[in-house]
Symmetry: C2
Subunit: 326 residues, 2 copies
C-alpha cells in the first residue's frame, strides 16, 4: 500500500510537492487543502481540493500532511494545530524562532502520538545537516555558508516597496575570491561585504527618478547597505523574459585540521538549483516518507532533519541500500 | 563522565583515531590493543598498550572499541568476535562483501546487546550518505562518484610487485572535462577511461628495463589497462621527498530534474583531504560517539552510517544543535 500524502497550501511549494509525490514510487497524493475557495483551484494532478477545515474529517485517510504555508504567518499556528491530528512536515525557516516553534509543535505531536518534522528544506535542512556532519568530523575547524547565485524573494519584495518601482528581482551572488580562499583552506575571516554581492533588476514607473531609486536601494539598512549592490533598470518585458525563474543554491564548507594542525581538510557541499521551491518540495517529500515510517514504529514528537536516520528517506529497503550505496 | 574509547590496531588509522579522540571534548582514550608485542609500541598519547587478548578482561572499562585493522584479513573475523563484548566501529571497505559482513556482525551484536557500526569512513561512509540523500531527494536523476586526486594504496602495491620495481606511488586523478560535464547537468554517460586518469611515480632497480616496467604497468588488467596511465621514473630520494603524504578525496554528484524534467538541479559533495587515514579516523571517532549513545538508549545490532541519525554524532545537545545549526 502506498503512503497517502496530503498537501496544505497550493503556492509554488505546494505545486512542487504535488510533482514530487507523483515522482515517488511508494506515495500517492490523496488531497489538497486550501484556505481559498476550493472550486477556484485547478491542480496539475487532478487531486481533489478541499477547504482547510475538511482535513479534520479525513484524519483516517491521510498518512502524512505536508504543510506548504509561509513561515511568517501560516506555520507558527498551522503546524502545532495540524500536528494534533496528523504526521506533518513543514519548511519553517525563520532561523531565530526555530526553538520556540519546535517546542510548540512538540507538545501537539507528543499529545497526538504523531511525528512532526519541522524546518525541512535546504537551509534550514540539507545545509544544517552538512554543518552538523562537518563539525562532528572535524571539531577543529571553521564553518562557511555561501548563498547563490539565486533569487532572494525578501530582497526583491523590499525593492518593490520603494516609491516609483513597479517590479524587481534581486540576485544574491557569492564572491568568487572568498569561495576560492575558503576552498584553499586559508580559513579567512570574511565580512558580510566580502562574502556576497547583490544584483538588482528593477522596473521603474515612467518618469520616476532613477538615481533616487538606486540610492534608496543601495543604502537600505539590513537589506543592502552592508553589500556591494548593482542596480539595473530594465523593462517589464525584459524582467518577464529573462528573470522569470526562481533559481537558487549555495555552498556549505567545513574546513579543519587533524593531528594537532598538521593536516588540513576541506568538505564542500554545494547546490545549484533551477527551481528553489521545487527542490525544497523534493526534500519535504523525502522527509514525509520518513515521518510516516517513524510513526509506524511508534515514534512521536517534533523532529528536525538532524534527528532522522538517512535510511528512512529512501524508498529502498535497508538490505538494498547496503548493497547498492555503501 | 567522558566516553571511554579504546583502539584495536596501531597503524595509520589507529594513530588517526588516537589523535581524533584527543580532540573530542567528551571522550577519553583508555587503552590500545595490538597483536604485536605491546612493549614494542610507543604511542603518541601515552595511552596504555595491551595485547589483543587482554581486551576480553576489560569489557567493563571500555564504552566503545574502534577497530583499525584491514578489511582483507582482520575485520571479517575481528568485528564479529569483538562485537560479542563491545560496542564497536569498523571501516570495512570491501564493497561487495558488506552485506555478508553486516549479517555476521549483526548476529554477534544482537546477542551481546551491543551496537556495531560497520563500513564507516568516507567511501564507504560519507560518500554513501550523500548518494542516499541525493537519490531520496531527486529520484529522477543520476549518481556520479569521482575519486582523487589521491594516493591509491592498492595500485601502488600492484606496481611494487613488478620485477625491477623498488618503490612506487600511484595517484588517481579525476578528468576535469568529465567533472565539468556532470556539474553542468549534462548527465553524460562516462566510460572508466573518461572519468579518471592514473599517474605513477616509480623507483626502479639500477639497470632495470624501464620500458618493460612501463609496459607492464599500463597494460595491467583491472588496475591500469582501462585507464590512461602516465609513468614517471624517479629516485627513491625524490619519492620520499615529494610523495610522502597520503592525500585523497573525491566528489559525489546527484544530478536530477523536477516537475517532469522542466527544472534541473545539481548536488555536489566534495572532499579534499591532506591525510586519508586521519580523516577516516575522524569519521570513525564521530560514529564511536553515536554507537555509545545509541547503546545507552537500549539499541543493539549491526548498523551502517545510513542508519544513524546525524545528531548522535555531535557532542552538543539537541537543543543547542537546533539553535546553532538549523
Amino acid at each position: 500500500m502506498k503512503i497517502r500524502v496530503a498537501i496544505a497550501g497550493y503556492g509554488n511549494l505546494g505545486r512542487g510537492v504535488e510533482s514530487a509525490v507523483s515522482a515517488a514510487p511508494d506515495m500517492e497524493l490523496c488531497a489538497l487543502f486550501t484556505r481559498r475557495d476550493p472550486a477556484s483551484i485547478k491542480t496539475v494532478s487532478g487531486v481533489p481540493v478541499y477547504s482547510m477545515e475538511k482535513a479534520f474529517e479525513m484524519t483516517d485517510d491521510i498518512d502524512v500532511l505536508v504543510l506548504c504555508g509561509g513561515s511568517a504567518n501560516d506555520l507558527p499556528t498551522q503546524t502545532p494545530e495540524l500536528a494534533k491530528h496528523f504526521n506533518v512536515i513543514d519548511s519553517f525557516d525563520t532561523h531565530a524562532k526555530i526553538p520556540e516553534h519546535f517546542a510548540n509543535v512538540d507538545v501537539s505531536a507528543k499529545d497526538s502520538k504523531k511525528v512532526a518534522i519541522i524546518s525541512v528544506g535546504w537551509d534550514p535542512g540539507m545545509f544544517s545537516l552538512n554543518r552538523l556532519y562537518g563539525q562532528a568530523i572535524l571539531p577543529c575547524g571553521n564553518d562557511y555558508t555561501f548563498w547563490g547565485k539565486g533569487v532572494s524573494q525578501g530582497h526583491s519584495d523590499a525593492i518593490r516597496r520603494i516609491e516609483g518601482v513597479l517590479d524587481a528581482r534581486q540576485y544574491t551572488i557569492p564572491v568568487e575570491a572568498a569561495l576560492e580562499s575558503v576552498r584553499a583552506g586559508k580559513n579567512p575571516e570574511l565580512t558580510t561585504r566580502e562574502k556576497h554581492t547583490r544584483e538588482c533588476f528593477v522596473v521603474a514607473e515612467e518618469g520616476a527618478d532613477l538615481s533616487k531609486i538606486e540610492s534608496e536601494i543601495v543604502n537600505m539598512p539590513n537589506y543592502f547597505a552592508d553589500y556591494d549592490t548593482t542596480v539595473h533598470f530594465i523593462s517589464q518585458e525584459e524582467l518577464n523574459r529573462d528573470h522569470a525563474g526562481i533559481p537558487h543554491g549555495g555552498r556549505v564548507f567545513r574546513t579543519g585540521t587533524t593531528n594537532g594542525g598538521k593536516n588540513s581538510h576541506v568538505i564542500e557541499y554545494s547546490l545549484k538549483l533551477d527551481s528553489n521551491p521545487e527542490f525544497t518540495a523534493s526534500v519535504l517529500t523525502a522527509y514525509a516518507r520518513a515521518a510516516y515510517r517513524l510513526n509506524k514504529e511508534g515514534i512521536c514528537g517534533a523532529k528536525t532533519v538532524l534527528d532522522i536516520a538517512p535510511a528512512y528517506l529512501h524508498p529502498a529497503s535497508g538490505e538494498e541500500l547496503r548493497r547498492s550505496l555503501l
